[in-house]
Chain length 205, copies 2
DNA sequence: GACTGATTTAAACAAACGTTTAAATAATCC
DNA sequence: GGATTATTTAAACGTTTGTTTAAATCAGTC
């Protein structure tokens, strides 16, 4: 059963799709343009993925599974909750930054409600929520005496981490250059501190 | 010059478009379906707006101008920064909740980079950034001795406020019912407290 | 009641859409 | 080396896309 080392045109389709979908949106990219940019015959997309929507799901799965792995590894550890959250945010921001386009495709499709895709996304949502419930909400309730729903914390924390990247096209036009490199070095700490202690949390410097 | 009291089919187009775009995404809604659902002839959309993209821009403008008005009114007041931010978040969350679909259409299109639209969006971005610079970043720098860029604060604060709404399709499938009404009553306070003092800010209850 | 401008209509435009087909090539196995 | 897959190709499928056209209907003014 002729299995090659790596079906390299399949990979090229995904890589190209992620870039195009992130830049102009999943729905507005035609398969012909995708095929052309990926240097692949049009029919190959349906050959490998069985349809445009299935290709999107592969991308969503790739991002979600990577994000969930970090969630799992960092939030289930038995360390003080502050340290746990801080190292989680550092790893997660690094992951998001490294896979910017995957993240954008995923986040941009989140609010929409295609039945197939929503069903699929909520599979990941369930798992994430369970981890956040155990890893953050429960120990936090013990600590501060207030129960915050994982349905609030989960979306909140990922939205905070991704905020800067989702606004990138606007910010690049608005912002006078200069924040470039040093900014992203400080970014994970900024998010972690605000999530833990708010903007007042910078007092102690 | 025959001006009617209100061109009611123009309004119907916008109202219908906002709902459809929010639910399934701007790019995946065809003008024929939109016209049908709005009970309007197909050609009316181009007659009133001059194109699909222009219709989208009207929607983006509507949301942005409302949001910016709140930014302006609340953040330029001369009151202690904590109180200022807290009341701003309350008003903004109420606005977002009331105009959920407008917000979703706007936020879902944010990360994409259609030249025309990005140009247009960044007009609003400039204004928002200037207000946040003056209303938050500057007084905050005095208070905590650390300068946080408005290019970080602006996206962060709106992302926090909208997070719960953008994840709605997933959460409705995942979440066991029960958080419904009481949740959204507490939501603005939750966001404001976390932004100001982080999750540790609930100590004092 | 004709005139004017705003609104509405049905019909058509070329272009692009996602998907399928059947035949050709390339790679792998025995 | 012949048989068996896996991959690639060009062509066509029927729909749907956003936009335009020119004629029809409507409302209000003089």
């Amino acid at each position: 059963m002729g299995k090659k080392n790596t079906p390299e045109s399949r990979d090229r389709i995904i890589k190209t799709a992620v870039v195009l979908f992130a830049k102009r949106g999943y729905a507005s990219i035609g398969l012909r343009e995708l095929a052309e940019k990926a240097e692949v015959n049009l029919a190959m997309i349906n050959y490998f993925f069985g349809g445009k929507k299935k290709l999107l799901m592969v991308i969503l799965d790739t991002f979600f599974s990577g994000y969930l792995e970090i969630l799992e590894q960092e939030l289930c550890r038995d360390v003080p909750i502050e340290e746990k959250i801080r190292t989680f945010i550092h790893r997660a921001v690094a992951y998001i930054s490294r896979n910017r386009e995957y993240m954008i495709v995923t986040l941009a499709e989140l609010p929409h409600d295609d039945p197939d895709i929503t069903e699929h996304k909520s599979q990941w949502g369930k798992k994430a929520m369970a981890i956040i419930e155990q890893g953050i909400c429960k120990p936090l309730a013990v600590r501060i005496g207030k129960k915050i729903s994982p349905a609030a914390i989960g979306p909140l924390i990922i939205s905070m981490m991704t905020s800067r990247f989702l606004f990138a096209p606007i910010l690049e036009k608005v912002q006078p250059p200069g924040y470039g490199d040093s900014f992203f070095a400080e970014y994970p700490d900024l998010i972690a501190t605000i999530f833990l202690n708010g903007i007042n949390g910078f007092d102690k410097d």
